[in-house]
């Protein structure tokens, strides 16, 4: 399935590459809304709440882009996509940007003719096991039955890991996270493997989370990031620098609370001034208003605020910053300078 989708997407998207390369920015402005591809539902990353309002880590990025481009964080049409429909939706032009915890890989960036515009979450594949299993390392999992979501990169990583360590396993293919939880709790598989963020979210929903542990091994690099169509570099720049603006805002201490003040009058820090448009012409260089970054940050806060609100340690999901801390705090977030 996955392969055929890839091949189909490849063929058709290469046919359309020329036609769809026309300015997405103009389309979005003419339409008045941003079509943002999101997940159909993933705890913390994107789901409609009880009032039908989309909330989540990836969703906040969509709102930031809409605020930067159109000045209104609510001018977003959220288009839910599944793991199987997301790439065709982007390639066919149904959505302008895909923010759906998608792993940046070589073939997706090149073969499928997409451009990943950065990494908004550094993830990695881990293993969840019951404490009763008495396993302390993923290398002890010889002969284990493993619940694994089909059609994702996790499936391939799993095969690589077990082959590299010369141990055997028996996959239990499942379709959704919900199904995986049922199977795992019913004992149909010894361990459940998916991205560590997903495991943390899953473990938090258990009746007795303390009876389960996430093993220390992270067996893959899963840089998750938003992506756009290949070929429209102006639009790619906007998407990329909106993400960078959110990251830089955290580094410079600009929050949704103080952004209005800081943008009102030029301050002492020239980079803040350039970012918020009180100095220089950065907005005009990417075809936006000079207050584009201010709007993006005001939409739902800087990167750190978005993280803490949706998936941080005070939420039921409770993910520590870890790799996703600023580079000044030992993490990997390192936005290029606004200059």
């Amino acid at each position: 399935m996955k392969k055929s989708v890839f091949l189909g997407a490849l063929t058709v998207s290469s046919l359309l590459a020329g036609a769809a390369a026309a300015a997405t920015l103009d389309d979005v402005k003419a339409r008045g809304t941003l079509n943002c591809g999101v997940v159909t539902g993933l705890a913390g990353f994107g789901a409609p709440d009880a009032n039908g309002r989309w909330e989540g880590f990836d969703v906040s990025y969509c709102r930031a882009v809409a605020a930067a481009v159109l000045g209104d964080p609510e001018a977003v049409e959220f288009i839910p996509t599944t793991g199987k429909t997301r790439f065709t939706a982007l390639a066919s032009g149904e959505i302008d940007v895909l923010a759906r915890n998608t792993t940046w890989t070589f073939s997706r960036d090149t073969d499928l003719k997409f451009d990943f515009i950065g990494v908004n979450y550094y993830d990695g594949q881990g293993f969840l096991v019951p404490k009763g299993l008495g396993v302390t390392s993923a290398k002890d999992l010889d002969g284990a039955t493993v619940c694994i979501q089909t059609g994702t990169t996790t499936e391939l990583n799993l095969a690589d890991f077990f082959r590299a360590n010369n141990i055997s396993y028996e996959p239990v293919p499942i379709e959704t996270n919900a199904e995986a939880i049922q199977q795992y709790l019913a004992g149909a598989c010894d361990t459940y493997t998916t991205d560590a963020s997903g495991l943390a979210a899953t473990r938090a929903t258990f009746e007795a989370p303390g009876d389960h542990v996430v093993l220390p091994e992270i067996i893959s690099k899963e840089p998750l990031g938003p992506l756009v169509r290949h070929g429209d570099n102006e639009w790619g720049d906007i998407a990329r620098w909106t993400l960078n603006a959110l990251i830089t805002a955290e580094e410079l201490g600009i929050t949704s609370a103080n952004v209005a003040d800081m943008a009102g009058t030029p301050g002492t820090n020239p980079e803040i001034n350039r970012l918020l448009g009180t100095e220089g012409e950065l907005g005009a260089m990417i075809g936006l208003e000079s207050d584009w970054a201010k709007n993006a940050i005001a939409a739902s806060g800087n990167y750190g605020e978005i993280f803490e609100k949706n998936i941080g340690e005070n939420t039921p999901i409770g993910i520590a910053r870890g790799l996703n801390a600023q580079w000044t705090n030992g993490g990997l977030l390192y936005a290029p300078p606004f200059r």
């Binding site: 359309l16 769809a20 789901a47 409609p48 599944t82 996270n177 919900a178 258990f206 939420t315």
Partner: protein
């Protein structure tokens, strides 16, 4: 001999014994249990096993329902209240029932519109389903209903459904004028009249977009069980006429018509519905020029209708084949032409035979509408699997949600099946 007799017989009963109640073991509940539950050791054993199985199920199910929690704001609170009593966390249904029924994007102040459309559905189909009870001219309600329902659910100016209806009306008028000459003239004349009216009506609706307008709701905002009902009702009612045409076409003597029908039916029946849905969602987007938004619900309706009509065609073909050849010959000998003989003699009988099969397809189709969750539409299953289970409040509640969905589907499907059995009894004219 006579005195001998008086000596040998000591007592002669000269009155009837008063009737006594049957022995306790042979009457009432005891007898019923002895014959039905405990007749012989093997039956006794099976009864005991069945009772034990029943006990196992009920011992979980009853506390699940009676200890269920209806008032909580998230699953953690639910668990706190229950303290392991084995109850269900029904609070999720209390919290999210509007989403489960209407989807999460349908404007809340407009919930009365689809609800009203749902109630009117019963009024509209009643003359159709119970034609002996309701007078025939109530069928006009049935004819108006699709346009009214469209207006209620999708909103927008009332002129659009009215123009559509006027177009159909004009087409029918022209058809009924011309059909006495020939069916083909009537058919094409009717289509042409409808197209002309629609084209002219386009100017009127374009000029007055706000006339008696309800707040328009985009197709993408439909969801929940309402979406399943919309898809189910529209696709079943559209696939029936298409199915009849396909079944007749497959029996046709015209090689081109027959060929097209056979290829279509065999192709569609040979392809899983889910691939057709993927085509509707994913592949069609490539063939349309960028920027055109060919409504996703419309695409899905077309695909499901194609799928269902192929199946219904085969069911009806079975009914046609079951009719004795004498019926066809009788119709011919009366001097009826093809359309008359089909309409008056063949189809009424063939359709009656096909009722169980058609209902089977309809029920299956209605349940298949949940497949749209795979192409990221938020029908009731898509809503459960996506937004609700992804919210940190309710992640981990499965039985209650899927049980609720199953209950809704059961009510509808059981209703359909009961109606079809009643209809069969009504139409039973066979030799018993």
């Amino acid at each position: 001999m006579s005195d001998m007799h008086s000596h040998s017989v000591g007592f002669v009963r000269d009155s009837v014994i008063p009737p006594a109640p049957p022995p306790a073991l042979e009457s009432g509940i005891v007898k019923w249990m002895r014959t039905n539950l405990f007749a012989g050791w093997s039956n006794t054993l099976l009864t005991l096993v069945a009772l034990y199985a029943l006990y196992l199920v009920l011992s979980v199910l009853v506390p699940w329902i009676t200890n269920g929690v209806w008032n909580a704001s998230n699953i953690r609170e639910c668990r706190e209240i229950m303290q392991g009593s084995g109850g269900g966390c029904f609070a999720v249904i209390a919290d999210r029932w509007q989403q489960l029924i209407f989807g999460f994007q349908y404007p809340e102040e407009s919930y009365w519109r689809p609800s009203l459309a749902f109630i009117l559905l019963f009024i509209a189909v009643a003359p159709l389903l119970f034609s002996k009870i309701f007078p025939r001219n109530l069928l006009i309600l049935t004819a108006v209903y699709p346009f009214l329902a469209f207006y209620l659910i999708w909103g927008g100016s009332i002129l659009i459904p009215i123009m559509a209806m006027v177009g159909f009306g004009a087409g029918y008028l022209v058809y009924s004028k011309l059909v006495t000459n020939s069916f083909a003239a009537g058919f094409f004349g009717g289509v042409a009249a409808a197209v002309v009216v629609w084209y002219l009506g386009g100017f009127i609706t374009g000029a007055m977009p706000g006339f008696l307008a309800l707040e328009p709701v985009a197709s993408r905002d439909m969801g929940g069980f309402m979406l399943n009902m919309i898809l189910g009702v529209i696709c079943v009612s559209l696939s029936l006429p298409f199915g009849i045409l396909l079944a007749l076409g497959r029996q046709s003597d015209l090689p081109v018509v027959k060929g097209i029908c056979v290829v279509f039916i065999e192709f569609v029946r040979g392809v899983p519905l889910i691939t057709l849905l993927f085509v509707a969602n994913v592949v069609l987007a490539y063939f349309l020029p960028p920027g055109t938004s060919f409504d996703l619900i419309l695409r899905v309706i077309i695909m499901i209708t194609l799928f269902a009509s192929a199946y219904i065609a085969e069911v009806i073909r079975g009914g046609l084949a079951a009719l004795p050849k004498g019926q066809y010959e009788a119709a011919n000998s009366l001097g009826l032409d093809y359309t008359q003989s089909m309409r008056l003699i063949i189809l009424p009988q063939a359709l009656k035979i096909s009722i169980p099969g058609i209902v089977n397809v309809a029920v299956g189709l209605f349940k298949d509408t949940t497949l749209v969750s795979v192409i990221s539409m938020f029908d009731i299953v898509g809503l459960i699997r996506g937004p609700i289970l992804a919210s940190t409040d309710w992640n981990g509640v499965y039985w209650e949600l899927f049980g609720f969905a199953a209950l809704l589907f059961f009510i509808v499907c059981y209703g359909i099946s009961q109606y079809s059995q009643w209809l069969e009894r009504q139409l039973a004219t066979d030799h018993r």
